[in-house]
Subunit: 422 residues, 2 copies
């Protein structure tokens, strides 16, 4: 295993080459939002199932309107849900409501605003129209048997509308990865422990929990492992039964010296543990092939920095794309936008830097402003940030007014490529 | 009540002037993601609680490094979680790990890469540094007693990290509105009904359900009310016990003729029912003041169009900002971005139009491309869309290459203003 620092994108590639989409399971439509279809879905009838009116108005024969105004006899009143019983003949029409079936004989609809109701069941039509006017043709939205959604589709509200249209009360989606979160370090104080002036609260477990939740996955919190080889091994072993294990900290004796050998002793193959980014390194990634009911499954282990901001940024850059791929998503990366920098940024060439920024609207776009001190303990900056500005590794600083790339920290729709230059 | 068409922003204002943030309730930190703080939160100690090392290295007296390389005696080994027991005197230093307390006497940290370990408990320091080098000062991230989060803060993963840092195992957040969804129309077929070639599947209830879920709210589905005044009244009455009632459709006999009088007969004050938008109108909004345990509470009623796309677009423009405000959010509107149009768009002046578009990245920004036919029954277009392009009401068409405004359809962070021109 090489000792060099990997670039951010090389580290991402190394991770993404290892992970694949998980298998499929059925979920109820009501619980499917945010999941990814593991099957293609076909229409089970034409939509609309017959020619329907797009307006409240009158179903007419367009040929009757060669000269307007024209007076037509109303032969029927058709509501949505009714089936017409009569055929419209020359000089006749039917009153029709939006969504109601167009009767035999009629070939156009005139909206009510372009008509005038007369006495004795007659109506005056004031405009001439072409055949097909304001008619939604049978099958124009969906054709019976047609593939309307392909496997791999992210389930958004619009997709749920389509699934309901083809009456999928239950859909096959990719499994959500089972994710375990472990914090390590003698200095950490648990949520339920009394306040100890010599200790540091364990915020990483909860911030990581929320980052996982924001991807629609419910993680398990394994608690805090102390700096004791046996205790650490015990906690790690518990976490290695999951699909993904996130271990934060352990830097009290150095990730390289202590957590890593324990992880390796448990059979995890380490792929890398250094990335040329700020905040961030050390970041470790490894794989355990475990036996699960006779088949081999992978557990992916991420060793995240103990500093709160570093841990969150590493999650965004490395863990989130991996979890997205496992959940079946094609778009793995957070959306990036262009923004105008409001101030100078100092940068020493060498590492890709992620600066927490707030965004503000301006004419035609956004401005980006640093949240202030960027120390990796400054968790408040992460709470205030709208996004992460990526400063390329070879940059020697950015001037106010420069256009920069900002990764949005929210959102459920991701993009195909990482979108920023290192 | 005036008969004119309201503009989109006037309709939004009318709605937003009526709704306010709901009261507060406690939730566990693990369940708080996406909610809004109803209380301010203060730090309960300094963070870091003492001066700590930002690096693995040596805690030194900077005055000892006037001439480098300098050789210092190592008096102690301090890990995170340890408390130092000795004071660093002239010519001495302590080995220190990231996050460990800086010992008395030392005023700077030298990272291990800038040192060379010698035999017999000595180390050679190769660089001179200023006082404070690589020390995170007590209270630099948070000061004991300081307000770290204000009421109204949206709970993101970063905020959850801060809440865990100050050990809020439970937080006060605004209530989520209770939302009921009702579809109306004789033509509708329920999810569990057998396929009837003369009926149209009820997709609106499920698409609206998912739009509500995407805001972090679990709605109640009331089912389908038939076009019968008594049945409709019964269903509506059930829905009026909720904070928000969404009624879609009923256009089989015209919203104005049938659903509206029944709603009004139940005591709902209608505020408007026409908006100059496409797709969209008719859109109705009304308020019922109901008695709830001795106090008066409001039920907000939205009458949404029966067409699937119209219903979803009206939800985004009118219902979502209202639900956001009720949930305590300050940022009510979906994020907008600028994009370059890839083709001409025809538009007849008069109504604000929302065109479903897909986005693609290009150098420095995004392109927007229509999803194709924009008929209001084309639900697949909503499934494919990344956003809604707002075409101003007074536009007479847009040329390929124009910069346009697109509302993103995903995302959990919203913005302060609607962001597009009508």
């Amino acid at each position: 295993m090489a000792m060099e620092y990997l670039s951010v994108t090389n580290a991402q590639q190394c991770i993404l080459e290892s992970v694949t989409a998980l298998g499929a399971e059925p979920v109820k439509l009501e619980q499917s939002l945010g999941r990814v279809l593991a099957e293609e879905v076909r229409a089970n009838r034409d939509i609309p199932p017959y020619d329907v009116s797009a307006m409240d108005g009158y179903a007419v024969r367009s040929a009757d309107l060669a000269k307007v105004p024209a007076t037509l006899e109303i032969i029927e009143d058709i509501k949505a849900g009714d089936m017409p019983t009569k055929t419209v003949q020359a000089g006749q029409c039917a009153r029709i409501m939006t969504g109601a079936p167009v009767p035999q004989g009629a070939d156009a609809v005139i909206r009510v605003e372009d008509t005038q109701f007369l006495a004795e069941g007659k109506v005056q039509i004031n405009v001439a129209v072409k055949r097909g006017n304001d008619i939604r043709v049978q099958g124009e939205s969906m054709r019976n048997g047609e593939v309307v959604l392909t496997a791999g589709t992210e389930i958004t509200p619009g997709v749920i509308g389509v699934l309901a249209t083809v009456k999928c009360a239950q859909v096959q989606v990719h499994h959500s990865p089972r994710v375990a979160i472990l914090s390590t370090g003698d200095e950490l104080e648990g949520m339920d422990d009394p306040v100890d002036p010599n200790k540091i609260p364990n915020s990483n477990s909860y911030a990581l929990m929320a980052q996982v939740q924001a991807l629609g996955i419910a993680p398990a919190l394994l608690g805090i492992a102390r700096d004791d080889p046996d205790e650490l091994a015990e906690y790690l072993q518990r976490g290695l039964h999951f699909d993904v294990l996130l271990v934060s900290g352990g830097t009290s004796v150095g990730v390289h010296d202590y957590v890593r050998p324990t992880i390796e002793a448990l059979g995890v193959q380490m792929k890398f543990w250094r990335v040329a980014m700020k905040p961030g390194h050390p970041l470790a990634f490894g794989i355990l092939q475990r036996n699960s009911g006779g088949t081999t499954k992978d557990t992916f282990v991420f060793g995240l920095p103990g500093n709160p901001v570093s841990s969150m940024v590493c999650f965004e850059e490395f863990v989130a794309p991996a979890l997205r791929r496992m959940t079946g998503h094609a778009r793995l990366y957070r959306r990036t936008i262009a923004a105008r920098l409001t101030h100078n940024i100092k940068h020493q060439a060498g590492r890709t830097e992620f600066i927490r920024v707030t965004l503000a609207k301006e004419e035609g776009g956004y401005t980006a402003t640093s949240t202030g001190a960027q120390g990796s303990g400054m968790l408040l900056s992460m709470a205030r940030a709208d996004g992460l500005m990526a400063v390329p590794a070879d940059s020697t600083g950015l001037a106010a007014g420069s256009m920069v790339t900002v990764q949005l920290l929210d959102g459920t729709v991701f993009q195909d490529d990482v979108g920023f230059k290192e």
